[in-house]
């Protein structure tokens, strides 16, 4: 029998061997690789957190040498704005577009800006992750949560519901991200408007929260203690920060957590279509979906993905879904009213 000392390295070795064989197989079987290599790169506009996006890109480049990934990360709303501005100037730059605002894809599909493509193996994904017409699929999912800094706020005092945040004792101690920048937050706002109406945000504004842009930002603000409580934000960001050893704790409010499924699609005018397809298959593969779940704390539509023990499963939570069409229709209203209440 093998010595216990050797067990771990052996497992790692085996996994690596399996993985490389698998990828080698995948590579060998993939005729599109040649075409993709000729194109040389895939341009990815993504709203996934920078570190996560970079990691996925590096993994792809390792698996498919010769095809580079050009990562352009910014907030969901900005991504859409960039795309439309470029199109207006007749610039066709982006291959794969991934934002956290499902409403965008309604718009883009309408404008015939998406390519119809079904990533390999995506049939097994949950229904909420698939576009019935086959133009876009949910790459990842997260839920909006409350988070707090454990050094400053004790678990007893911590807010437990969305309504708790309206308590005047939180005045000057909250941070919120902005729906004008982030799709995750736009979804969150709409979900809460369904729950408690616009008066909720009117009251929240009275507590004068700090305004940040990205749904990733509140995690940093809470971790540093600048503002001890985050009024929203993607749970995966708080999870990552907590795993790094920061004194952050997540609260899944009892009224429910807005679910944000972030779609990904290939553009109809993609300058590198083969590379785009290859990349799309890659990111929807079980392996990468598992990576997203393991290291990034994201939820996946793939049923076989396993999650860390300290993370609640989607089925255990009361999720508040939001209709993509409604998101698209009320996008302006969401942004304008938010600005109206919060000032900027």
């Amino acid at each position: 029998m093998t010595d216990r000392r050797h067990v771990i390295p052996l497992i790692v070795l085996t996994l690596t061997a399996v993985l490389s064989v698998w990828t080698a197989e995948a590579r060998a079987q993939d005729p599109r690789l040649e075409a993709a290599r000729k194109e040389g790169k895939v341009v990815w506009y993504t709203s996934l957190a920078l570190t996560s996006s970079e990691k996925v890109a590096k993994l792809f480049e390792t698996a498919y040498p010769g095809v580079k990934v050009e990562v352009h990360r910014t907030g969901s709303q900005r991504i859409l704005q960039r795309m439309m501005q470029e199109l207006q100037a007749n610039i066709k730059n982006v291959d794969v577009v991934h934002t956290s605002d499902a409403g965008h894809y309604v718009l883009l599909k309408e404008k015939k800006l998406l390519m119809r493509y079904t990533p390999a193996g995506v049939e097994v994904f949950g229904a909420g992750f698939k576009d019935k017409d086959g133009y876009h699929y949910g790459l990842r999912a997260t839920v909006n949560v409350i988070a707090y800094n454990t050094k400053v706020v004790s678990p007893a005092e911590a807010p437990r519901t969305w309504k708790d945040l309206l308590d005047p004792k939180w005045r000057g101690r909250l941070v919120t991200a902005h729906p004008g920048y982030s799709g995750v937050i736009a979804t969150h706002v709409l979900a809460l408007v369904h729950l408690h109406g616009w008066d909720y945000f009117k009251a929240l504004a009275q507590n004068k929260p700090m305004l940040v842009q990205s749904a990733v930002d509140p995690s940093g603000v809470v971790a540093s203690g600048e503002r001890p409580v985050a009024a929203n934000g993607g749970d995966y960001t708080f999870y990552q920060v907590k795993k790094k050893g920061n004194p952050v704790e997540i609260v899944y409010p009892k009224e429910g957590v807005p679910l944000v499924v972030s779609p990904s699609a290939i553009t109809s005018f993609a300058p590198h279509p083969n590379a785009a397809r290859l990349f799309t298959d890659f990111i929807f593969s079980r392996e990468i979906q598992q990576v997203l779940a393991d290291t990034e704390g994201l939820y996946s539509g793939h049923p076989q993905v396993t999650y860390p023990a300290d993370k609640p499963r989607l089925s255990d939570l009361k999720v508040l879904p939001v209709e993509a069409e409604e998101l698209e229709k009320r996008n302006e209203e969401i942004k304008t009213r938010f600005v109206e209440f919060f000032g900027a």
Binding site: L50, T74, E86, G180, M210, L211, V212, F342, G343, A344
Partner: protein, 572 residues
């Protein structure tokens, strides 16, 4: 008498100034650069599908949040200008006229504040004075045990403060230069009659320097009006807009270009009026004329006020330079910027992450490319224009001189909107390329390049060129053999000024960039929106390093201090 010798008349071509076409070309370039985008802007502000309309103006000026943004801008500009004056004027007097210790170093530090991009300073001050995690606030709470912070940088006063500490150098330069022109005998006359040091300063020096003071105040206000980065970093989180951040917001999808155009015009008018007022104050010469023959300048002794004055100076420079640079360095090397820099907090990860991040690499390349290109072409164009206006080579040279400085009136964001409108349509489809950024930078830096070139050429007596011409050298030969060698160090200074201006430009870049044409300042701003403090600090330090290398080059080449020190060694 033999037949009268017919007078030999010169043939038509003999009298032509062969240099004329070049001047005209340069003039045309300038006109195109500035008037074309502005024309589009004006057009867009009154355009609609139904034809000419004032509806955009009505909406923009009647909308309460927009009115609030306008008001906020006025408040910001006025108070930061005032604060800049309060800081800059005494500092200038202390270094230019008294025996303040470490004068040279203080001048260098003011220069450091001058070249620091204000948005970087704003960012550093977030780390220093954020109400909860800010370094200074935590120190304060640790020492006094108070619950509330000492200062909250996310506020109008905070914004005013940060803007002022990076615009006071404009006031400083203006006043230091003027003080350098006043002879001591005017002040001695007062001292002999019994006035004490400070009385002399108050009753004699001050009135003579008043035009320069007011002019410096106006300059600082102009700068404050145009800033984008600092308000975006400090005002937005606090929930209020300024005109520049609002203009930027208009460009979110769907872009409301007509509104942006209409909203830009009031800002443009305000800055234009201020500039006119400033010109009036200084008269045609462009610098404050003072009485006296400009003779010897004696140093005023401060006596027992020496060290308190030094302390005050160091306080100011601490706020502008030491503290921000310190916290940036710390954040660059820390895992968690808010925690103290212990051995376990120390890391080089930020550096590897930042520089391995593909966007950073291309942004650095873009920035340097654009910096060099704009500096070369800008210096050449500015020198040519300054030559044409200084030597009065074409009719209407005053208009040319005015146009060259006119871009000062156009805030970067407004310029970007105008360029966007002008160059996002055929035939000049420049959006998405580096060229639109190049145009924005060239236009924006023209005033500073032109002023520097103008000053250089003013120092070269026209008779030096006339002497060459009468001896047989044509205009271009004279330019090449006489003017250029004498102007060389000035031209290099112009180059450096433009280069530094370009690498730190944010307000125009933030509107005109596309994912493929990012520059360093935009990347820093993007990273801010992600809360990536470590990476921001790394890039910020890198940007500052590039700037300082350029400054050192410039000061070596010039052989003198750019901040109002006099020229060492005469020019024959």
């Amino acid at each position: 008498m033999p037949e009268a010798v017919a007078a030999a008349r010169p043939r038509r071509w003999e009298g032509w100034d062969r240099a004329a076409p070049i001047w005209l070309l340069a003039a045309a370039a300038l006109v195109g650069l500035i008037l074309l985008p502005l024309g589009w802007l004006a057009y867009m502000s009154v355009r609609s599908d139904a034809g000419f309309t004032l509806a955009h103006y009505a909406r923009v000026l009647g909308d309460p949040p927009l009115q609030k943004a306008l008001w906020n801008t006025v408040v910001l500009a006025f108070w930061s200008g005032l604060l800049a004056l309060v800081i800059g004027a005494p500092l200038a007097w202390l270094t230019a006229r008294t025996d303040l210790p470490w004068r040279r170093s203080i001048q260098h530090l003011v220069m450091a504040s001058f070249v620091t991009p204000p948005f970087l300073g704003a960012f550093a001050w977030v780390m220093l004075a954020g109400p909860n995690a800010g370094y200074l606030n935590r120190l304060y709470r640790d020492w006094t045990g108070a619950a509330d912070p000492l200062v909250n940088i996310f506020s109008m006063p905070g914004l005013i403060f940060v803007v002022a500490i990076y615009t006071f150098p404009y006031v400083y330069i203006m006043i230091a230069n003027t003080l350098g022109l006043i002879a001591s005998d005017l002040e001695d006359a007062a001292s002999i009659l019994g006035a004490g040091r400070f009385q002399v300063a108050r009753t004699i020096t001050l009135p003579m320097v008043l035009p320069a003071i007011l002019s410096g105040f106006i300059l600082a206000v102009l700068q404050a009006l145009a800033l984008f980065g600092s308000p975006a970093i400090l005002a937005l989180p606090a929930g209020f807009h300024t005109v520049t951040t609002q203009l930027w917001a208009f460009f979110q999808y769907p872009p409301r270009v007509e509104m942006a155009a209409a909203f830009s015009i009031p800002l443009l008018l305000a800055t234009a009026l201020l500039l006119i007022a400033q010109k009036r104050l200084l008269g045609r010469r462009g610098y404050a004329a003072v009485g006296g023959k400009g003779g010897q300048r004696r140093v005023i002794r401060l006596g027992r006020w020496r060290y308190p004055a030094l302390g005050a100076c160091l306080l100011v420079l601490g706020a502008a330079v030491f503290l921000p640079y310190g916290i940036l360095l710390k954040a660059a090397f820390s895992r968690a910027w808010a925690q103290p820099l212990t051995a376990e907090n120390f890391t080089l990860e930020n550096w590897s992450f930042t520089f391995l991040y593909s966007t950073t690499q291309s942004a650095i390349v873009n920035t340097i490319e654009l910096g060099v290109l704009t500096a070369c072409i800008g210096a050449a164009l500015a020198t040519l224009l300054a030559y044409v206006t200084n030597r009065r080579l074409v009719a209407g040279h005053q208009v040319l001189g005015f146009l060259a400085v006119a871009p000062v009136v156009i805030p970067g964001v407004v310029l970007a909107v105008a360029l966007f409108v002008a160059y996002t349509r055929p035939p000049f489809l420049l959006y998405g390329t580096l060229w639109i950024l190049f145009l924005a930078y060239l236009t924006k830096e023209m005033p500073v390049g032109y002023s520097q070139s103008e000053a250089t050429l003013r120092g070269i007596h026209p008779e030096l060129e006339e002497a060459g011409r009468i001896l047989g050298a044509g205009r271009f030969r004279v330019l090449h053999e006489i003017t250029a060698p004498l102007a060389r160090s000035g031209i290099i200074a112009t180059w450096c000024f433009v280069f530094i201006g370009v690498i730190r430009e944010l307000s125009a870049s933030i509107i005109l960039f596309t994912p493929n044409t990012k520059v360093m300042s935009v990347v820093i701003f993007d990273l801010k929106e992600e809360g990536q403090f470590g990476a921001i600090a790394v890039l910020g330090v890198f940007m500052l390093a590039m700037t300082f290398v350029t400054v050192v080059v410039m000061q070596t080449v010039l052989g003198r201090d750019v901040m109002g020190g006099r020229q060492a060694g005469g020019a024959g």
